[in-house]
């Protein structure tokens, strides 16, 4: 493992971005926490916030069956379902979300809107999101029974969204700590991840660590490239090389760095491993997935 410190020469002003922040809302506590996080970012970047509430067609359809029952998530008790009640519930949720958006953003003069759609969640969101947009998803765990609701949806969105995806844990505020960027030395899309990491570090005035997963000895070239990238970003960072160990070792390394935020590329080989996503969840950190 080699530690290299790369220091910057001339700080470069942050690029003024005019991107949107999309928040997927479903009325749950976790999605409201994500809204708060999105609001913070929006206030900092003066970006427009678009809340998305999808009325799931399949759910409405399933409620139409006479035999449909809703099995309680924690009690396991089965209750009958009914289309009318579901519709009412969805309308109430939409109203609640609209108010939450207004309350959270209007006082700061941030533009905000709630988009109601009907259909499949992934489909609808993907239809709305642009490559420059930041998609914020609430939900600490992607796995486990308590977060099963967002499970498959979140997973699909993480893999398919064209832009950055921020996965926000349930906690409302950011703990103190470093920004950690996790890279593979042999993948192409590192620039975006490093850039996002640098930006997060600068915005939050936090220290930055770059963890490089590397097995090969031929990573010299990559490290030089990384140094150049950081230099261009105008920030000093700690760079650590890690063997391509399992997801658990990775999670431990992240924890050891005292990470408060994690940036990881969608193409990172970590995602090929079984259980990697759940491990990321267990870190209980805001994770930004870059394309």
């Amino acid at each position: 493992m080699a530690d290299t410190t790369v220091s910057h020469k001339t700080p470069e002003p942050a690029p003024a971005e005019a991107r949107r922040i999309l928040v997927l809302l479903d009325g749950s506590r976790r999605s409201l926490a994500a809204l708060e996080a999105a609001a913070d970012i929006a206030r900092a970047q003066q970006a427009e916030v678009l809340g998305i509430f999808v009325e799931e067609v399949s759910l409405l359809r399933s409620a139409g069956y006479g035999f449909a029952r809703e099995v309680g998530r924690s009690s396991g008790v089965a209750r009958p379902m009914d289309v009318d009640a579901l519709e009412v519930r969805m309308q109430a949720t939409a109203e609640k979300l609209r108010r939450a958006l207004e309350r959270t953003l209007a006082p700061w003069g941030v533009a905000q809107a709630l988009r109601l759609c009907r259909g499949e969640v992934v489909e609808q969101v993907l239809g709305l999101v642009q490559p420059d947009d930041l998609l914020v998803l609430g939900g600490a765990g992607w796995s486990g029974i308590s977060s099963f609701r967002l499970g498959s949806t979140a997973r699909s969105l993480l893999r398919q969204a064209p832009g950055d995806v921020l996965l926000w844990p349930e906690s409302r505020s950011l703990p103190p700590g470093r920004v950690v960027v996790l890279l593979n030395h042999d993948q192409g899309a590192n620039h975006r991840a490093v850039r996002v990491g640098v930006e997060l570090a600068r915005r939050g005035q936090r220290a930055l660590t770059v963890l490089v997963r590397s097995d090969a000895a031929d990573d010299r070239e990559f490290l030089e490239e990384l140094a150049a990238m950081l230099e261009a970003g105008g920030i000093s960072a700690r760079v650590r090389r890690l063997p391509k160990a399992g997801a658990a070792a990775m999670a431990r390394a992240v924890r050891e760095e005292g990470a408060a935020q994690l940036v990881i590329s969608r193409q990172c080989s970590l995602f090929e491993q079984q259980g990697a996503e759940s491990l990321l969840c267990q870190l209980n950190l805001p994770v930004t997935i870059t394309p």
Binding site: A63, A68, E70, G76, I145, G275
Partner: protein, 801 residues
Amino acid sequence: MALPDALTEAQIYHRCPLDKLDFETTESLEDLALPFGQDRALRALEFGASMKAQGFNLFVLGPSGAGKHELVRRVLASHAAEKPVPSDWCHVFNFQQSDKPGAIELPPGEGRLFKADMSELANELKTTIPATFESEEYQARIQELQEEVTRRQQQGLSEIQEEANANNIAMLTTPAGFTFAPMRNGEVIEPEEYKTFSDEEKELVESKVEDLQKKLQQAIQQVPRLRKEVRERVHALNEEMVQLTLGGPMGELREKWAHVPAVVAHLDAVREDVVEHAEAFQDTENGAPAGLLNRYRVNLLVDNAETRGAPVIYEDLPNHQHLAGQIEHRAHQGNLYTDFTLIRAGALHRANGGYLILDARRVLSQPMAWESLKRILFSGEIRIESLERLYGLATTVSQQPEPIPLSVKVVLLGDRMLYYLLSHYDPDFLDLFKVEADFEDDMERDEASYLLYARMIATMARSAGVRTLDREAVARLIEHASRLASDQNKLTAHDRVLKDLLTESDHWAGVANSPQVCASHVQQAIDERDYRASRVRERSLEHIRRGVVMIATQGEQVGQVNGLSVLQLGATRFGQPTRITATARPGKGQVVDIEREAKLGGPIHSKAVMILSRFLANRYAPMNELSLSASLAFEQSYGGVEGDSASVAETCVLLSAIAGVPLKQSVAVTGSMNQHGEVQAVGGVNEKIEGFFNVCRQDGGVNSQGALLPASNVEHLMLNESVREAVQDGRFSIYPVTHIDQAIELLTGLEPGQPDADGVFPEGSFNRRVADRLAAFAEVGKSKDKDTGQDNGNGGHNGQS
């Protein structure tokens, strides 16, 4: 009856023969290990100290200042030195019942080691256990556990989902849970379309949905069980890690303390407790809570590491708490807390296996102390109970330490009255205090005792750190010891008085710059003590001198005599004469005791007057009626009269009043008398005679005065030097009398006369005069009765008034 001779100087003072004191100064005398003359008390002490059976506790009785305390300590110390050192005792936390701390007995001196070992262990736990929890091994294993559980949770749900998908059924999440619906090509079928399905298809779908719902319900309901399982497995892991960490230190301690099974058992309990509370040690920032670690510490209640032999403990404030121990409380933010570390030992704990010396009066004057002491001695174990609990005033949760078995010999010191009262009124007393060690007030003064007494004085002088005494000083002290004992053949055993006298003599020797204490210093000390206490005596003498109190020491007077009385004020006694007068006239055979009528006389005095009136009737009117109405009074006495020591004087003065024969005022009289006229011994003769002597001396000087005293009192005389000088010069005469007739003759100068065969006294004798006068009274009485009988027939009562 022959008249007794006046006493010589040798008879009224028993000098200490200097030739019996074979030394120059007390420096050459050896110390006396044990006081002599206390054989009874010593044997009782020896017996009590070595007697093992229960209930053979001691009560040492004797007057205060007799040196009981020191003697008891000395005897017990010699016994204790040969006995083994008793065990150490400590209280430890009881992990089963936290309010009942356990007690552990340890060989003497090992209590400290155990305490040190346990606090070291507690300190070690504080650092090693958190370190274990921080170790990579532990972290990795915990993670594995959590991962496994997560996988199992997920697995259950994904299996159901897969099963649903395989059967073309969608598992959807709702805001509050899950639901199932038939699906085609990944999409939920429209309910309208579903209606077109055949009945068999519908039945198939619905039964499958129902089946899946049931499975899902089961899977969800498994979650709490799974979580519990995780907790249990985490706990098991914690236990395993702690066991491994503790293995080393615990193993060492177990081996070290293998000879005390109770300690080993406690160590095992501690290990179990640490394992049970493993999670509490995980807090790496603050460490384990202090309260948790304190439970592993040891409260060393009795530490006998420094004790040599059996302990001899004296508790000078024997209240309930100090005897039985107490449980203290610590105030924290206005609340009171206690735990086993706040249990404090009492005197009984410390004396366990040895001796406990207590002052009986102090024990009795402390609330509940006596009852607690008895209860503990009966039960043979010390159970700490707070006073407020005993009284039922507090019912808060407190500690109830395990009782500690007791084997102690309690030695109570007290005065005799206390012993007799306790034996009479407390039914438990004699069960618990079977050995009485009774101290002598005084000891024999014989040939052998001179040197022993001298050695005792020498010992006392050395321990008090005073100058050495020369031979004469010791002799003077011995003589004074006899005076203090009020007996020529006794010496006082009163430690305190002698010791005070010694130190005071030393003071006067110091004032006189003498290297030694000489007889003159002892005399000065005696005189100074006497002078310091003389205010009331001087005042009384002054009253007599100025005639306020009328006492005649010269001349003769009918119906008047000088009796002698003693006053006790504090530690000093002094004598003074009292004028006793009598009147006599015809009547119904009555002697009126004016003191008694005025309720100023005590019962013994009344008894004496009754005796003398029967003596009169029997002697002078054996066959006929005694016609007499007499009265007796102590003149100018306002404080009450008690005792029978004036009965000789009263008889004499009454007879003088009847016969009209004057009595010598220069001779004072003391002595009691029985119904036959025999004179019996009385107390305080030295003070009485000296008191009269002092009155005579101030009233024109001593010249042919004297005193009568019972012959049986002669050996009690230890009179002071001025009296002795006057006796030697013949200016003051002391006569020992055995019969009232001798007293009469000495006071009147008349022959009393013995009755002949017919009971008639010889002509001219004193008794004849009395008899004649009484006969005359009888005549008067008869004629008076006749007159009144003729007048009104009921005059018989007149004589009674």
